[in-house]
C-alpha cells in the first residue's frame, strides 16, 4: 500500500521543492516573526486605544476598527512592522543623505566609528595574542587583565573613556571608536591565542627539524593555522564593535549616530524612530558579519583550505 501512496503524496505537495532548500524554512520563520509582531502590537497598543475610545465616548467599536487603529497610532507602545518599514523608507530614500534627519547619515556615523574601532581592536587583539603565545610572562601577566576587562559593564566604563579622552583633548570619532575597540579586541585576542597554539605537534617538530627560527615558524606555520580562527573572532568582534559604537554615542549627548537616534527617540517617545534605528542597527550588524564571511571564503579559497 505504501508503495503507491508515497509517490502520490510527493507529487501533490506543491511546497515540497521550496521546503527542500533553505528559502522555504527562512520564509516560514520570517513570516512567523512578522505574525507574532503584529499580534503583539495589537495586544500591547489596545489599552491606550481603549482610553481614546472612552474619552471620545465611543462604544461598541468593532474589532476590525480596533485592530486598524492600534496599528496606526503615532506613538505606539509597540509599532507595527509596516509603520517601522514606512519610517525607514521615509528617512532613507526620501531624505537627502546629508540631512540630520536621514537615517543613512546616522548609520554612516555609527558605521565609521564601528570600522575604526574594529580596525584598532583587531590589530590590538592580534598583537596581544602574538605576545601571549610567545612569552610565558605575558601569558601569565596579560591574560587575566584581558579577561577581567570584559567583566566590567561597558555602560559603566563608556562615559569614563569619553570624559578622560575629552580631558586630554581627544574628541570626535576616536573616543567612541575606543569603546568599540574595548569590546572587539577581546574575541580576537582569545581566538588568535587559540589559533596560534593550534598547530599539531608533528608540524612543530617538522619546523624543528628544519632549524626554523621562531619568526619563520610564526609566518609559515602558526599564522596560517590561525587564519580560520581569526575570521571567526572577527565576526564576533565586528558585531561587538557595533554595540560599542552605539553605546559610545549615548554619553556624548546624542548628537549623531544610531545611538543618538535611539536616545532622541526615547526622550520624545518616538517609538517608531527607536524601532527603525534598532532594525537599521541589526541590518548593519548582519551585513558586516556577512561581509567578513565573504572575505573569509575568498581568503580560505585562496589558501586552498575551503574545499
Amino acid at each position: 500500500m505504501t508503495d503507491t501512496a508515497l509517490p502520490a503524496t510527493r507529487s501533490t505537495n506543491p511546497f515540497a521543492g521550496l521546503m527542500a532548500g533553505t528559502t522555504g524554512p527562512v520564509l516560514v520563520i520570517l513570516l512567523a516573526i512578522v505574525g507574532i509582531w503584529y499580534i503583539a502590537a495589537v495586544a500591547l497598543n489596545t489599552p491606550f486605544q481603549e482610553g481614546i475610545y472612552e474619552r471620545a465616548k465611543q462604544t461598541d467599536v468593532p474589532f476590525t476598527q480596533l485592530v486598524s487603529d492600534t496599528l496606526a497610532q503615532e506613538r505606539p507602545v509597540l509599532p507595527a512592522p509596516h509603520q517601522v518599514v514606512e519610517e525607514i523608507y521615509k528617512t532613507t530614500v526620501l531624505k537627502k543623505v546629508t540631512s540630520k534627519r536621514s537615517l543613512v547619515y546616522h548609520t554612516w556615523i555609527t558605521l565609521s566609528t564601528t570600522l575604526l574601532g574594529f580596525l584598532i581592536g583587531t590589530t590590538l587583539g592580534i598583537v596581544l595574542a602574538i605576545g601571549i603565545v610567545h612569552s610565558r610572562v605575558l601569558d601569565k601577566s596579560l591574560m587575566p587583565w584581558v579577561i577581567s576587562s570584559q567583566t566590567i559593564p561597558i555602560l559603566a566604563i563608556a562615559p569614563m573613556i569619553i570624559v578622560v579622552l575629552n580631558a586630554v583633548g581627544i574628541s570626535g570619532l576616536l573616543p567612541k571608536a575606543m569603546i568599540s575597540t574595548y569590546l572587539s579586541f577581546f574575541p580576537v585576542t582569545v581566538g588568535m591565542v587559540k589559533g596560534l597554539r593550534s598547530p599539531e605537534i608533528i608540524h612543530l617538530d617538522l619546523m624543528h627539524t628544519y632549524s626554523a627560527s621562531r619568526l619563520q615558524t610564526f609566518w609559515k606555520l602558526r599564522f596560517p593555522y590561525a587564519v580560520p580562527y581569526l575570521f571567526t573572532s572577527m565576526k564576533i568582534g565586528i558585531a561587538a564593535s557595533l554595540v560599542g559604537a552605539i553605546v559610545g554615542e549615548l554619553p556624548t549627548g546624542a548628537v549623531a549616530g544610531l545611538g543618538a537616534r535611539l536616545l532622541a527617540g526615547s526622550y520624545y517617545g518616538q517609538t517608531v524612530q527607536i524601532w527603525s534605528a534598532l532594525l537599521m542597527a541589526a541590518f548593519l550588524a548582519g551585513s558586516l558579519v556577512a561581509l567578513i564571511g565573504v572575505i573569509e571564503t575568498l581568503a580560505l579559497k585562496r589558501m586552498g583550505m575551503a574545499r
Binding site: E200, I202, H203, D205, L206, M207, H208, T209, Y210, S211, A212, Q216, K220, L221, P224, V227, M303, G304, M305, R307
Partner: protein
C-alpha cells in the same frame, strides 16, 4: 661512520615514576647503510630515531651524527625526517610544501624550482605540483613528504614508520620505490617499522628492539644482495633472515602481554 651511539639511555620522568624508554644502546651506522629499527610498540624505536634527530634528549651516554652532536647536526640540516603522517600543510600546494624547507634555508627561487622538479620526479609525482594535499591519496601524500625531506639534499634520511598507515598493496609499491631511490642516491637511511617483511626487504642491517626497558636485542647484518626485487621475499635467504627477526622479537618477550 654516520651515526655512533655509545651506551645511550633515555628515561622519561612521568607522574607514575620514571619510564626507561631507552637503556644502554650501542649502535654504529655506516655511510650508505639502510638500517631498520624493528620492535613492538613501546620498545623505543621511534624515541631512538627522535634522539638522532635532536627531537629528544638522551639522559645518559653519547651520540654523534656525522661526528657532531645531534643538535649541531640539526642546525646544519644534516638529515631529512619523514614522519608517520605526511604532515603536509593544507594551505600549501604540493610544490609549496616541498618548497617549505627550501624557503627556510633561504635558497633562491630558481634553486627552489629546480629542487622541487627534481624531487617530485624522483618520487613519481611530476604533474601534481599545483594540487593541494587533500586532493591526493594517502600514498601520494607520503611520497610528497619524502620528496620534501629529500629536497633538503641530506645524506641521511630518518623515516618513522612512513608507510604504517597505508594498505599493503600501496605499501609494497612504495617499498619498491624507496628501495630504488636508496639504490640510486646511495643515502644513509634509518627506518622505523613494525613490519618484518618490510624491514628484511629494505635493510642492510636490522636492529631488533624489545620493550621494558627499551633495548637492542639483536643486530642482523643482511647477506641479501644490495639489488632487491619484491619476488625475493619468497627466497630461502629472505625467509631465513625474517625467521631470525621473528625469533628475536619472540625471545625479547615482544609477544607478551
Amino acid at each position: 661512520m654516520v651515526i655512533d651511539i655509545d651506551n645511550l639511555s633515555l628515561t622519561f620522568q612521568t607522574n607514575d615514576g620514571p619510564v626507561h624508554a631507552l637503556s644502554d644502546i650501542d649502535l654504529q651506522i655506516d655511510e650508505g647503510d639502510f638500517v631498520s629499527f624493528i620492535g613492538p610498540s613501546g620498545c623505543g624505536k621511534t624515541t631512538l630515531l627522535r634522539v638522532i634527530a635532536d627531537l629528544e634528549q638522551p639522559t645518559a651516554g653519547t651520540i654523534t651524527v656525522n661526528g657532531l652532536t645531534p643538535h649541531e647536526a640539526r642546525l646544519k640540516r644534516a638529515y631529512g625526517y619523514v614522519f608517520q603522517a605526511a604532515a603536509l600543510y593544507p594551505w600549501r600546494t604540493i610544490a609549496g610544501n616541498i618548497a617549505l624547507p627550501l624557503e627556510i634555508m633561504g635558497l633562491s627561487k630558481a634553486e627552489q624550482r629546480a629542487r622541487i622538479a627534481k624531487n617530485m620526479e624522483l618520487v613519481n609525482l611530476a604533474g601534481f605540483e599545483k594540487k593541494f594535499p587533500w586532493q591526493l591519496s594517502g600514498g601520494m601524500q607520503q611520497r610528497a613528504s619524502i620528496a620534501r625531506a629529500l629536497s633538503v639534499e641530506p645524506d641521511l634520511l630518518l623515516m618513522d614508520e612512513p608507510f604504517g598507515a597505508l594498505d599493503e598493496i600501496v605499501r609494497d609499491h612504495l617499498n619498491d620505490q624507496l628501495h630504488q631511490l636508496w639504490a640510486k642516491t646511495n643515502k644513509t637511511v634509518v627506518f622505523v617499522t613494525h613490519s618484518i617483511p618490510e624491514a628484511v626487504y629494505l635493510s642492510t642491517k636490522i636492529v631488533v628492539l624489545c620493550p621494558r626497558p627499551g633495548r637492542i636485542y639483536d643486530v642482523i647484518e643482511s647477506d641479501l644482495p644490495r639489488e632487491r626485487t619484491l619476488d625475493m621475499r619468497e627466497s630461502p635467504e629472505f625467509l631465513k633472515i625474517a625467521h631470525r627477526v621473528r625469533e628475536g622479537l619472540k625471545a625479547g618477550h615482544s609477544y607478551d602481554d
